[in-house]
């Protein structure tokens, strides 16, 4: 069995999605447990793969028994094993937590919701594990299309936000496809490892340069790097809360993983970081993006929109860190993929809890929430502290590596942007905490304060949320081990 983990990882949710789609109308009650089983199987396989990678080193799985580059191979190494475990855990936790919210938000279509949810997860896991550039595109599209559908059935203007997402997403994916086409044209292969071995001979070719720029631009679009972020705020804020807490941790982070994969294991790192001016430009763009997104976040009036902009700033962190091109910064970027997924999940689950219990997440409705929903606020506070970067939460440690990397590279612009964003995050989250801490002030003309009812979420929602919040601290404390055992091995030795 363990030899087939890579395929099991993807096929389990896929098959479950198919079965759920067939029984969706007749047996809706069976859908959530089935989905949970499938995702547990995925998580199990991901964990198994991580253990195997740690024990034996990277391995690959040849689908159809065709050796690459003829067939498609799944390559499992430290990098994707780590990200996979994180993503599978995020998907499973979100599934368990949001069950009630799904039942109320998607009445009558829970079955289809879970089918799309699983397809989304299958696509994401596939992207993370595949070793074939074109296969990645197909999986990207399955993720995107299920994502469009899930977003499209949300709040009032969800369809518009989703269509916008369709357009931006399609342009991004098409650019990636075009980049892959260029690579195929010049190398004659689609297998990532194969391309990696052929490319060093072709550094001078304009085709490689064009392929690189086009594919990366496509990915920037999909990951919502600052000037190309247009789709994200609306899509995330209009989506229903269970969808939001699924898509927000997975989509952008997966794209950043793809960027890391392309930059380190498809294009030789030497080409990625030194051969073009591109890397330097991107770091500055990321720094500008962090600052602008943080400023935009300040002007939002609802929690979820604010968080959407915070997320865009976080994308800037990872992009900036990666393109600095030194070991510490790349460590920070990879670490932040995991940490940010956990933080985003945590924070959006808390928002989901608000929207589920209070039917709204505008700042005004959050008054007195420390009293009304104390545990949810604890979760939100933990996630907020992590996003600000307060030790010992995990956000601090990835920021540690990112800033350290920027210092190593002497890139003061990014250092300043990161510090600035931490400060803005502090302001943003403390504004929320403050609102939630103070109850509506007593009206001098009224004798009694308006009594606020206790409105905590049910325990089935709360338990996984608290688990995630604890996970943020746990991840932070485990940073040293993750870095020495996994991330160090994930970055090519050539990068210092």
């Amino acid at each position: 069995m363990s030899a087939h983990y890579p395929i099991f990882l993807v096929v389990a949710p896929l098959m479950a999605a198919l079965v759920i789609a067939i029984i969706a109308r007749e047996r809706p009650g069976l859908c959530p447990p089935l989905a949970a089983i499938a995702l547990t199987a995925s998580l199990w396989s991901a964990a198994g793969m991580l253990c195997r990678v740690l024990a034996e080193g990277p391995f690959s799985y040849h689908i159809g028994n065709w050796p690459p580059p003829m067939g498609i191979a799944y390559e499992v190494d430290h990098l994707n094993a780590l990200v996979l475990v994180a993503m599978a855990a995020v998907a499973l936790i979100n599934l368990i937590t949001t069950r009630q919210a799904v039942a109320s938000d998607f009445t009558g279509r829970e079955g289809y919701f879970y089918a799309l949810y699983l397809l989304f997860c299958a696509g994401t896991f596939g992207i993370l594990v595949t070793g074939d550039a074109f296969n990645l595109y197909v999986l990207l599209e399955i993720t995107s299309i299920s994502g469009y559908a899930l977003v499209g059935l949300g709040h009032r203007d969800a369809a518009l936000a989703s269509l916008n997402y369709v357009f931006m997403g399609t342009i991004g994916a098409s650019l990636y496809l075009l980049g892959v086409g260029y690579l195929y044209l010049i190398t004659g292969t689609l297998n990532m490892a194969d391309i990696f071995s052929i490319l060093p001979r072709l550094f001078g070719s304009k085709v490689v340069v064009a392929a690189f720029v086009i594919a990366m631009t496509g990915l920037f679009m999909k990951m919502a790097l600052f000037p190309l972020h247009g789709w994200l705020p609306n899509a995330y804020s209009e989506a229903a809360s269970p969808v939001r807490s699924l898509i927000a941790p997975l989509t952008t982070k997966t794209m950043i993983y793809v960027m890391v994969r392309l930059g380190l294991y498809v294009f030789p790192p030497d080409f990625t970081f030194n051969h073009l001016l591109f890397a330097k430009v991107v770091v500055w763009v990321a720094a500008a993006g962090i600052v602008c997104a943080s400023v935009l976040a300040l002007s939002q009036t609802s929690l979820r929109r604010m968080l959407a902009y915070v997320l865009i700033a976080e994308v800037g962190y990872m992009v900036g860190g990666f393109w600095l091109g030194n070991r510490m910064a790349i460590t920070g970027a990879i670490l932040h993929i995991v940490n940010d997924a956990a933080m985003t999940l945590c924070v959006f689950l808390a928002v989901g809890s608000f929207t589920h219990q209070l039917r709204d997440d505008r700042f005004a409705t959050l008054k007195g929430c420390f009293r009304r929903m104390p545990w949810t606020m604890v979760v939100l506070a933990t996630a907020g502290l992590s996003m600000i970067g307060v030790p010992p939460t995990c956000g601090f440690f990835s920021k540690w590596y990112l800033i350290g990397g920027a210092l190593t590279a002497d890139h003061w612009g990014l250092v300043a942007a990161l510090i600035f964003s931490s400060l803005v995050n502090a302001v943003l989250f403390f504004r929320v905490f403050e609102i939630a801490y103070y109850e509506p002030f007593a009206d001098p003309h009224q004798e009694h304060r308006p009594a606020l009812s206790y409105a905590e979420a049910p325990a089935t929602m709360l338990a996984p949320m608290l688990f995630t919040a604890a996970g943020l601290v746990g991840l932070g404390l485990l940073t040293g081990r993750i870095v020495t055992h996994i991330i160090d091995a994930a970055i090519p030795a050539a990068i210092l």
Partner: protein, 131 residues
Amino acid sequence: MTTAGYINLIIAKYNYWIYIVLMCIGLWAMIAKRNLIKKIIGMNILQTAIILFYVSIATKKGATLPILGHHDAGHFVDYATVINPLPHVLMLTAIVVSVATLGVALALAMKIYNRYDTLEEDEIHARVRES
């Protein structure tokens, strides 16, 4: 490069130039058009342009279709005489993806029309602002 060289460059790769033009048309339509259906058409043009590019990679001058006869079995096939099949395979997938995207995009456009009663982006934004 001489003038003749340029002309040669243009003629030798005219398929590629056309795909660039189509791609730019598609992209421009997606950015600049306000009607959602037009945008969706632009999206499809963008996707077909990429397919054209891939198919162009595959061609070999003077080669035959990538379908062998049974008489080919057992003896060596000179690969220069058969068109490269791999991009075709990829593009079959890409076409499917494009029609899938089209379906979802049209469904969303219909939802949007049901809600705002128009398909023009500026009118929709005006309505969003009103509410």
